[in-house]
Amino acid sequence: MASDGELVARSVSEPRIFEELVILHGPRVHAYLARRAPAAADDLSSEVWLVAYEHRSRYDPELGVVVGWLFGIARNVLLAHYRRERGHQHQRLPAWQEESHDDWAQVDARLDAAQTAPELRAALQALSADDREVLLLVAWEQLSPSEAARVLDIPAGTARSRLHRARASFASSLSSSRAERLQPAHLVSHLAPHPRDTPLEDS
């Protein structure tokens, strides 16, 4: 079976082959969009694939795997969608949201609708947009830190640092809020350092 990279490369001369990538990764790309812009995910998903198809000859395997490339395109399409939405709203947004890489209000609304615990939502919101983005790419999209770096077009070491910071901050916020609400002692006590959170050198 051909690898993703081989499919992209072959699709340059045999365009029909590109459709196989939709079968392989279409649900993942759609899920990424559905988590961040639920109402527009169907349309944005098609847009992502058409943009990827149009730019497939520019895919460089040395810069990362196909999935990272696809999510990078999905992110750009999503950001363009946010910009359009903000333009349509004709209203000034809070400064934190103007500069944000995500639209936390939409993500949070989805989490609220899914009856996600309020303290988990609050812990995510407390993160910086940059840190939250890396954390969610790893947790929700199941990308490695290196793949997340490809999506965000940042060095892999930077992604790992952000992930480390985000995990620590998220755990701290969530545990604190729960410790306040419940009996704190036994919950806080097991928050030992985790080897997964050790920042790695840039590869």
């Binding site: 649900p27 559905a34 998903s45 149009e54 996600t116 929700w140 806080v188």
Partner: protein, 324 residues
């Protein structure tokens, strides 16, 4: 004090918060069909549009004439008629064909305009290749979505795709603008086609060959309204170099006269019935040899088959389902 970390329980809770429903099947089918259309268009265009930057002396040289003759031979022309017919004759053919398109019986309320295109590719020896494709489109008159069925060549591993129609009028950029606001005045429409040709991609120009290919794209687009197609035919009648390039040419199982660019042997030909002036289809001439044809048939249907009501984002719409 140690740094708090994300233990497995919290990590699992965070991951669970990211769970979303699987995408509706129709969404991915729609995407695949859009890609399939783009791939087909790209393949056909790649075969015929390598004219950018090419010197237009080709047909005036002995080599060019030989190449043009070779192309003519492969598509079954029985009478080229010597030197190309002056463009006034081509303009007449295009204008009458435009009138015929406009005169097609319009579908009544609730009916569908049907468009069926069959694409057949042949190698230099005349054998039909595997990349045949049938596209059937149902364009509604009422406020319901259109439908499209794309069937690859018989025996291909891919299944036919049945899905809501994606209209070019919903595209962004110059293409969407052209479809939404196309001027009926031929000169203004020709200017709009030039803008679209320029906007098509890296290195695109508004040269004659590109404008002609852009016009071919509109005329062969199943989702394009008939009044736009007829107006485009009138507009390109004004294009320098447009001429009758073959008096009798096969396109599918039909035969008609071909209009193309006189000095571009690889440009697409639009083929029209000599008696009824109906638009029959297209003949393409890849630089790599062989030909492809795309025949088009219009009709009216009382309904679009295989429909069911589906809900998407809170709205009901007709969606095609496979007939069983």
């Amino acid at each position: 004090m140690s740094t708090p970390t994300l233990d497995d329980h919290l990590w699992a809770e965070l991951k669970a918060a990211g769970q979303v429903p699987a995408p509706p099947e129709q969404v991915l089918l729609h995407t695949r069909a859009a890609l399939r259309r783009a791939a087909t268009t790209e393949t056909l265009r790649r075969d015929v549009v390598r004219l950018r930057g090419r010197r237009r002396l080709l047909a005036r040289t002995a080599i060019g004439v030989a190449a043009a003759a070779a192309v003519v031979a492969t598509v079954g022309i029985v009478d080229l008629g010597g030197t190309p017919t002056p463009s006034a004759a081509a303009a007449s053919v295009l204008t009458r064909a435009a009138a015929e398109l406009e005169a097609l019986p319009p579908p009544g309320p609730g009916q569908y305009l049907t468009v069926r295109t069959v694409t057949v590719r042949k190698d230099a020896a005349g054998s039909a290749a595997a990349a045949n494709e049938v596209t059937e489109t149902w364009l509604p008159t009422m406020d319901t979505p259109g439908m499209e069925r794309v069937t690859p060549s018989p025996g291909a591993a891919e299944d036919a795709l049945l899905l809501p129609l994606s209209r070019s009028s919903e595209s962004g950029g110059e293409l969407g603008i052209l479809y939404a606001t196309h001027p009926s005045d031929p000169a203004r429409l020709l200017s709009a086609l030039r803008r679209l040709a320029r906007a098509e991609g890296d290195g695109a120009s508004d040269g004659t060959a590109n404008v002609w290919q852009t016009a071919f794209g509109v005329v062969s687009d199943n989702s394009a309204p008939l009044d736009l197609k007829s107006d485009v035919l009138r507009a390109v009648a004004r294009l320098d170099g447009v001429a009758i390039v073959a008096r009798s040419v096969e396109v599918g199982d039909r035969r008609g006269e071909a209009v193309g660019l006189v000095d571009s042997p690889h440009a697409t030909w639009l083929v029209f019935d000599k008696t009824s002036h109906d638009y029959l289809g297209v003949v393409g001439h890849p630089e790599t040899g062989g030909t492809w044809t795309m025949t088009t048939t219009y009709g009216v249907a009382d309904g679009a088959p295989w429909t069911r009501r589906l809900e998407r984002q809170g709205q009901l719409y007709d969606a095609p389902v496979p007939s069983s």
